[in-house]
Amino acid sequence: MSINPDQTIKFSPMHRLQWEEAQQKDVILYPEGMVELNQSSAEILKMCDGTRKLDQIIDDLEQKFATTGLANDITAFLEVALKNGWIQQN
């Protein structure tokens, strides 16, 4: 399963992405499960709002964190996210 660069990416309506005050981190919640996210994973997922394609997500994150060369890491993480059903395309 890989990311289609021509389609927008959105966070799955079957999951919930939420900041947990007690844990001081973002988590993904789904039936009977929870994934704790590090800051960079959470930032990537927050960009998946159904309006951006892969390239735009990379551009926006590189701009937000004033850096370059994030493409490989972001793509690799989004492929994991797609495989786990956390994000959807089209």
Partner: protein
Amino acid sequence: MAGSNKTKITPPRWLLAELTYACPLQCPYCANPIDYAKYQSELDTEDWKRVLSQARKMGAVQLGFSGGEPLTRKDLPELVKHARDLGYYSNLITSGYGLTEEKIAQLKEAGLDHIQVSIQASTQELNDHLAGTESFQHKKEVAHLVKKHGYPMVLCVVIHRENIHQMPQILEMAEELGADYLELANTQYYGWAHANRDLLLPTKEQFEQAEQIAQAFKEKVAGKMKIYYVVPDFYEDRPKACMNGWGTTFLTIAPDGVALPCHSARELPDMDCPNVKDYSIEQIWNESKTFNFFRGFEWMKEPCSSCDEKEKDFGGCRCQAYLLSGDMYAADPVCSKSPNHHVIQDAIDSAKASALADNEKPLIFRNSKNSRLLS
């Protein structure tokens, strides 16, 4: 006493709210205590709201509304809404009995995140026999309605000797109903399942065959359906890491307000389980004798105390140790290192003998009459 002040206490993450012991079904493997009928009182709406608020403040985030049948509580939508406002991810664990489309929509509106529907078997005849109630067709309708209203649909099937031969049909049914998650829960022998063990425990060959079928199916539906397979611990040689360790993650509140580190813990002796009517969740979690009882490792006996796997499985399940060896401090007899391990083989042999007997005794169904008779 067990427990140690030196053990670092982690906050609860999962809250199981057993709203009631009332249930229209009579499943003979029910996890409720055998003597449930003697606990008549139920927390009121305000008590539950306070419990949800206090546990959320400590960090609980996954919430199960369970029972009994939680739909018998008229205040369920109000509690669901309160849970959503607090930021819980809430799960309704239901038989589906009495669930209408109107109610499914109302609960969605209130903020319920998902619905887990139990089905007892893949055929109407066996389902209705095991449930002790005519319910099969309605459960299938409910499963469709759950999908229709945009919930992730979790189908739960408890597996035992009466239905294990239906594994291929159970998997087909889950696919046909469009389940997003399928929980194949091999029966854990507590409560009513313990009382009916001779009739429910399958043979090793049956387990292995069913597991192979389920594993092959898991690969086939990868990406479409997630399968949770709850292992049959009688056929393992190491115990499960029960509750992820006592008092580390899970908090169960029974219908009468008793707080438990796991839903079977009220069957252990001398636990003096605290009640949420008398104490706050924070006091219960951090300070109560019950929740500190098996925290850490100091309570352990040999072979657990010197075992290099103790941090992995915490000596297994305390309730199972008590039920099978009479000693709640002992290693879980499932462990091949346990001096009581032979009781597992005895149970397997006894179940096999029962299956081969000419006139096998009948299942004891979970209802108030049997509860009073047995306790």
